[in-house]
Amino acid sequence: MNAAVSLGIVALGILGVLVFATLGARRGEVDPQEFIVGGRSFGALFLWILLAGEIYTSFTFLGAAGWAYGKGAPAFYIMCYGTVAYAISYFLLPPIWKIGKERGLLTQADFFIERYGSPRLGLLVACVGFVFLVPYVTLQLSGLEILLRIAGYSTLDSTATVGIAFALMTAFVSLNGLRGTAWASVVKDVLVLAAVLFAGIALPIRFFGSPAGAIDRVLTLRPHWLTLANDLSTQGTTWFVSTVVLTSLGFFMWPQSFGATFSARDPKVLRKNAIFLPVYQLMVVFVYFAGFTALIVVPGLKGTAADQSFLLVVQRFYPPWVLGLVALAGCLAALVPASGQMLGAASLFAKNVLGDGFGIGTTDAGRVRSTRILIFVVGALALCWWLAARTSLVGLLLIGYSGVTQFFPGVVLALGARRPPAVAVGIGIVAGIIVVAIAAALGAPTVYGLNVGLFALLANVASTFVTSRVVAVARAPQAEPTPLR
């Protein structure tokens, strides 16, 4: 009975959002400009909502609470990196938008092709972007699976819930496109905000009298939980700073976030967004409070189970309709970003790999068709990952970040007047990815307390520099023959 009420609310809510989004999305258009970059017409408010929709995901909702529960202060990195990323985006995004507008670019790989004059580099960027989006989609899938399982009071097993989650995700994005995603995002943001305020304020008040009371209890129980280890340990201050630096550089390197930049109406919109989006990060504080409350009320969850922490509190101490509403908010927080990510990965692969690389589906209609098929491929890959390896939500995100951050040097260098040759940028990206892969194989997230992604970035920059010197030396004799004396 309980499960019927809460799952019923979730189902009705998702259906309602689908209808609302479909009405807003002006169905029936198959123009890729419309489907992928929303006709390049989004104003500040709409883009703000779209970006927030892609950025505040089930990760913010469950993962941040999970880390507050399982690790404590290291979770604070989540608030910092977003804010730092927006400050960087103030300077970085307007020039990218300008180039996109002038050249009619649709994807991140287009940008690399245009700036470095190399279709092969575009192919590489598209493949790397595609591959590292998979763990991000897996993150949303795991989030959905957790939400459905808890909302169902464990009447559904995890095979059933992950199947439903997969079906929901692919159906949601296939029906919506980008404009639909932005509309769905409006509903999602209101619900998520309400759920987060409930979890972060009402939960601590119920158990400890006030949110500050939760902090007191945590400090009594674990005096070191809310500060970082002051050394080079796996999640000490060095890790914190290096992770914030790394992930803030990578923030707008996600193919779908980079692509969302192109949907802005003008660069002023992007600057306004950079100024106001940091405020959104404050929401995360309430998620921490929910995690801390769960730490005291339902202690003992180990490993990836920590991601369920505050949902279990709601399940145990509140009526099913409250759980249903919270789970609905969480499901939308997974579905909306997942559709942006799946659409981003699929359109990137359809245009830059299948279309430009192999000449498959080069017409507008053909591209939209292959995008629609690839959406299922991305979903299936995410499902395989989920089946093969159970990783915590934050863990999945950090893997993806260490990958996409490798685009950062190439993007920044692309904006300068003196650009390195395409081969140097390509070798840099490959070198960075190799370091990421080695670290993942060895299972070493930190070296000397530093986030290993930073070493990958260094390898990337160094290889780019060395290769461009080598190319310059090799080309010099042909370009400027040394005069004979």
Binding site: A73, F76, M79, C80, T83, V84, Y86, A87, I88, Y90, F91, S210, P211, A212, G213, I215, D216, L219, P223, L226, T227, L228, N230, T237, F240, V241, V244, V245, R271, A274, I275, F276, P278, V279, Q281, L282, V285, Y288
Partner: protein, 59 residues
């Protein structure tokens, strides 16, 4: 150059400033000092970026 410096202030506080703010006391509105430090600098970031923007529109 000046506008980069202005934007760099909150960025530095939320990255390299963190090890120096890594403490519980003094508590601010019940928050441990580290979390309060992060919250305050997040609130100040829009102000700094707005200053940068104003500098661009009125040279």
């Amino acid at each position: 150059m000046q506008r980069y410096a202005l934007a760099a202030i909150p960025v530095a506080m939320l990255t390299f400033g963190i090890p120096f703010a890594n403490r519980i006391e003094p508590r601010v509105f019940g928050l441990p000092f580290l979390l309060a430090w992060i919250v305050v600098w997040i609130l100040l970031t829009p102000a700094f970026l707005a200053l940068v923007e104003r500098g661009e529109t009125t040279p």
